[in-house]
Structure formats: C-alpha cells, structure tokens
C-alpha cells in the first residue's frame, strides 16, 4: 500500500489537518458573537427537550376568564403568565416553549433529507460528469426556478399537512445547494494528485466517492447545513403561518403569529413573542454558521 500512504499526506483522511482544525477552533471560540450564538442555541435546545418540565402551564389549557392577559410588566399582567395569554387564555410562554420542539425537529430533519439527497447527487454529478451531470444540473435549474416557499406550499397542500410531509417537502425543495457545492468541489478535487493516484491504483468509483472525495467536502457540508437549518426553521414557520402547518394540535411559532395577526390591534403580545423566539433561534444559528464558514472555508482563511 505504498502508493496509498504516499497519497495520504495533506487532505485524504480528514477534512482538515490537525493544525488547521485547532486554528478553526480558536477562531470559533475567540468570537463573542459566535459564543453568544452557541449559548442561545444550546439554551433553546435544552428548553425544547425539557419542555414538559420547564413550561409553567399546559400549552393547550384554555381559560376564558384569563384571556388576553397582557405580559407581566404591563398593567393588568399576572406573574403566573409572564408573556401573557392568547384569545382563549392559553399561556404564551408555555406555547413558545413547546413550539421550539416542532421548529427544531423540522429544521434538523428537513436538512437531513436535503443533505442526503443533495450530497449524493453532487457526488454522482461531479464523478460521472457527462449526461448524468447534465440531467442533475437541469434538475437544479428547475428547482431554482420556483420560489421554494411556493413549491413547498403546493406540495404540502397536495399531500395533506402532517409533520412528516413538511419535513420531506422542505427537504426535497432545499437539496440543490448541496449538489451545487459538492459537485464543484468534486470537480476541483478530481484534478488533485491524490485523487489521480487513487484512480491510478484502480479505486472503484464508489470507493473514490466515499473514501477520497466525500471527506474533503465535509467542511462545506457542515457550513451549508447550519445555514440551511436556519432557513428550514423560517420556511416551516412561514408554512404554518399560511395555514398548511403540521396538522397537529401542537402549537407552532408560525401558527401563533398567524393568530396574533388577527388580534394585532387588541393584543400586541400574541404575535410579538413567538416572532422573537424565531428571530433569536435563527439569529443564533446564523451567527454560529457564519463563524463556522470563516473558520472552515479555506478561501476565507
């Protein structure tokens, strides 16, 4: 295996050599915005996981005498309902806490679907080139021709709203970014010496893709995935705002804002707080993602 080891130094085994990796870590840690993003994100995840223990009330329990209770610091607010209640007296804070579960679940799961589909197509496209590449790139162009939200809206409506539908549809409308980036990287990697060497010793296309090409696209995949999770959370919120949500009784942030819109002139807190929850979560992910890009992307470095 002399040739195999010859080809190894540099980039074959790991996405980044060790010195680069520690530099990436230092860059990540040394940035207050990224640290703040990480802390907020961990907090949101913890709250979502522990929802039944941290939520002060049952998110579905209605109380007609308590409806439209304003937030704690406004006149008429009650300590039991820090962020107020909605039009049927449900606790806003508890609903936001439970809503975090759906947002995070859909965000991560949809991106997992996009990742698997997009990376596979990108690898195949870059590796085989020719006709297969042309077909896949046309599919990318076609996907880019539709506003993602509109496509997701139409297909969720056609398949009947459910959590699984939303995850699959958002996943299958958001794959093209992975394909474009992975394909471009594979095309560049093909020209490098170690891939040349692997080909010379007769590595099969599958081995080439999984062992030599895929590991070298990891840093891009991580960066895209972070930013895509942020996008997916926003898209899910938009879908449930427009009324084609998960179809379950569980509260979602988008749904809460949609309700809040109807009562915007009577109770400002209905729409405001769930929106702030989305903003904080997505902002945290974007801050982490942006810093990850700075730390991992060789072009920026």
């Amino acid at each position: 295996m002399a040739i195999g080891t010859l080809a190894r130094p540099g980039v074959t085994t790991a996405a980044l050599p060790d010195t680069d990796r520690s530099r990436a870590w230092r860059k990540l840690i040394g940035n207050p915005a990224a640290v703040a993003g990480t802390v907020i994100l961990l907090f949101v995840i913890a709250v979502a996981v522990a929802a039944p223990y941290v939520a002060p009330h049952d998110p579905a329990r209605q109380s007609l005498i308590r409806r439209f209770t304003p937030p704690l610091w406004v006149q008429g607010g009650l300590p039991a309902y820090p962020l107020g209640t909605d039009q049927v007296g449900r606790d806003i804070l508890s609903r936001i806490i439970y809503g975090a579960r759906i947002s995070l679940l859909v965000g991560v799961a949809a991106v997992a679907v996009s990742l698997v589909v997009g990376v596979t197509l990108g690898l195949v496209s870059g590796l085989l080139r020719g006709r297969v590449d042309a077909v896949i790139m046309t599919a990318v162009d076609v996907t880019l021709s539709f506003p993602q939200l509109l496509l997701a809206l139409a297909f969720v409506a056609a398949l009947g709203p459910s959590l699984l539908t939303i995850i699959v549809v958002l996943g299958l409308t958001g794959w093209e970014r992975y394909t474009r980036v992975v394909r471009a990287e594979v095309l560049a990697l093909r020209e490098t010496d170690f891939v040349e060497a692997a080909r010379a010793i007769g590595a099969s296309p599958a081995r080439m893709a999984l062992k030599h090409l895929l590991p070298n696209t990891f840093s891009s995949i991580i960066v895209i995935s972070t930013l895509q999770v942020a996008q997916a959370i926003l898209q899910e919120a938009a879908l449930s705002f427009l009324g084609v949500g998960s179809g379950t009784a569980h509260p979602t942030w988008g749904q809460m804002i949609a309700l809040g819109r109807d009562f915007v002139s009577v109770a400002w807190w209905l729409a405001t707080f769930p929106g702030l929850a989305i903003l904080l979560t997505v902002l945290a992910i974007n801050l982490v993602g942006d810093r990850l890009r700075d730390a991992l992307d060789p072009r920026v470095r």
Partner: protein
C-alpha cells in the same frame, strides 16, 4: 457569442419542460387527484369524475395532454371562482409585480450605497452596523416583520393603513416588508464584490493618477463590481416572488400570492398550478434576461 445565446435558449426550453413536469406533479403526487379535489364525495361520484377527467389514462398520456393545454394557456377551471384559472392569475399579476418591483427598487436603493460605504470604510462603525443589519434581516421571518411594522406604524402611530391596496400609502408597509427580505443578501453581495475589486492594481493606478476618490469608486470599481450584482438580482427575483406570497397575505394585498394561498386552503388546484407555473415562468425569463445581460456586459465573452 451567438452559440452562447443559442445554448441559453436550449437551456431555457429544457428548464421550462422541467417546470411543467413539477407543476403536473402537484396534482398527481398524492396518487389520486380526485380524492384531493372532492374529499367528501361518495366513491361512485369520484369514479365518474376520474373517468370524465381522464385520470385513468397512463400518466404519460395525461402529461402530454397537460402540456398541450398549458401551451394554449388552459389550466382548467377554478372550482371556487368557476372561471378559467389562468386569467384569474394574470389579472392579479400587475399588483404582485408592482409590489415586487417597488421592493426590489427599495432594496437596491438601500443595499448599493450601504454596501459601497461598508466596503470602502471597512471595519468602520457603518460597516459593523451594516453587518449587524444583515444578520438581523436574514434571521427575521418576513411575515413577522410585516406584522411588527403594522403594529408600530398602523396600530400605534396611525400613520399608515393596516391593510389593503387602495391608496399609495397602503403600498408603503408591504413594500418595506418585502424589501426587508431581500436587502440583507444584496448588501452582502455589493460589499464583498466591491472588496474584491477595490484593491486591484487598476484601481490603485487610477488613485495614483490622481483621479478623485468618488470617481474611482463609481467609475472604476463599481462597474466591475456590478457583474455579480446583476446575477444575484436575477436570482433574488424568485426570492421576492416567494416573499410576495407572504407579504400579500399579511397585508391583504389583492395579488397573485394571496390568490394562491386562498386556493391552497380551498384545494382549488387549477389556480395553484397556474400560479406556480406563472411564477416559475417569470423567474426563468428574468434569469434568461440576466444571462443575456451578463453576456453583453462581460467584455471577456463579448470580444470572443
């Protein structure tokens, strides 16, 4: 250059074929279009409708028919409005386009100067402020931004109407809302493409010759930074149309987006299909125009 244009035309046709496959799939993806259209009807009625609408034919035959009818501009009749779907979409298009173009103009008016200043005064207060705004803007859900603006300017300050589309004042909040979705990305692109050219030799030469700073930036740098901006502005159009769907719903703007959202709630698929197809067609044509503009603007291609 001619072969390049010919290649773009071929791609346009291929992409449009793909767009019609996806539009066709909306109705057929669930396996039974009739169940979608009339969820409560008895099975005998459904079977009759299936036969009448040709849903028992092979999918390829049905697709052929679909393509032939959309080529004639026929997307079927809206179940709800009891009228052909395409004219219903087209008559609301000017409203949506007006909203989109207003937002695009607003976006460019904000992003271009701010992006230039951020690049020229890199790491200044303005640059950091702009970066902050970019992060905030990309993290806010458009519909929430709209509702917050509505809360502040219409409900609290009573300066602008809450919703509707009957006066110029009513256009302001929807346009700002939609622009808030596209401005951050444009600003980012303007800043980074200005940074790319601003330290190149020819810009330094211009400065060394004593050309005024303002002229260097506007004439030497901006012209070359404009190329990526043109491409991104084209791609942004799709994003803006998507955002228009939400914005129109928030502010009750009588455009195509609101029509589609209503049609989705009523499972009125001819309108959904017509709307999706028309939106995609606009995006494809805008990007085709951008491609041609790019060929024209880029001297490296033009000379060849």
């Amino acid at each position: 250059m001619l072969t390049l244009i010919a290649r773009r035309v071929v791609r346009l046709v291929v992409v449009l074929a793909g767009v019609s496959v996806v539009t066709f799939a909306i109705l057929h993806v669930s396996g039974d279009p009739v169940a979608l259209m009339m969820p409560e009807a008895p099975e005998a009625d459904r079977a009759a409708l299936r036969l009448a609408m040709g849903f028992n034919d092979p999918l390829t035959v049905q697709f052929g028919r679909f393509v032939a009818s959309i080529a004639r501009g026929d997307f079927g009749k809206s179940f709800f409005h009891r009228a052909p779907a395409l004219p219903l979409v087209l008559e609301r298009m000017p409203t949506t386009l007006l909203l989109t173009v207003l937002a695009m103009a607003l976006s460019l008016a904000l992003a271009v100067p701010l992006g230039i200043v951020s690049a020229v005064r890199r790491n200044s207060v303005i640059d950091h402020g702009a970066t902050f705004v970019v992060f905030l803007g990309t993290s806010m859900p458009v519909f929430w931004t709209g509702i917050m603006l509505m809360l502040l300017f219409a409900v609290r300050l009573r300066l602008l109407p809450v919703s509707g589309w009957d006066s110029w004042a009513a256009l302001i909040l929807p346009a700002i809302t939609l622009a808030s979705a596209s401005t951050p990305l444009l600003l980012r692109i303007v800043r980074s493409s200005m940074l790319d050219v601003i330290n190149l030799d020819y810009v330094r030469t211009a400065r060394a010759k004593g050309v005024s700073e303002w002229l260097v930036i506007c004439h030497h740098a901006l012209v070359n930074a404009a190329l990526p901006l043109v491409t991104v502005a084209g791609l942004q159009f799709g994003l803006l149309l998507g955002g228009a769907i939400i914005t129109e719903t928030v502010f009750a703007v009588p455009g195509v987006g609101r029509l589609i959202v209503g049609a989705i709630r009523q499972l009125d698929f001819p309108i959904v299909q017509a709307g999706v197809f028309v939106f995609a067609l606009i995006v494809v044509l805008v990007n085709f125009a951008v491609d041609l503009l790019y060929i024209y603007l880029n001297p490296q291609i033009r000379v060849r």
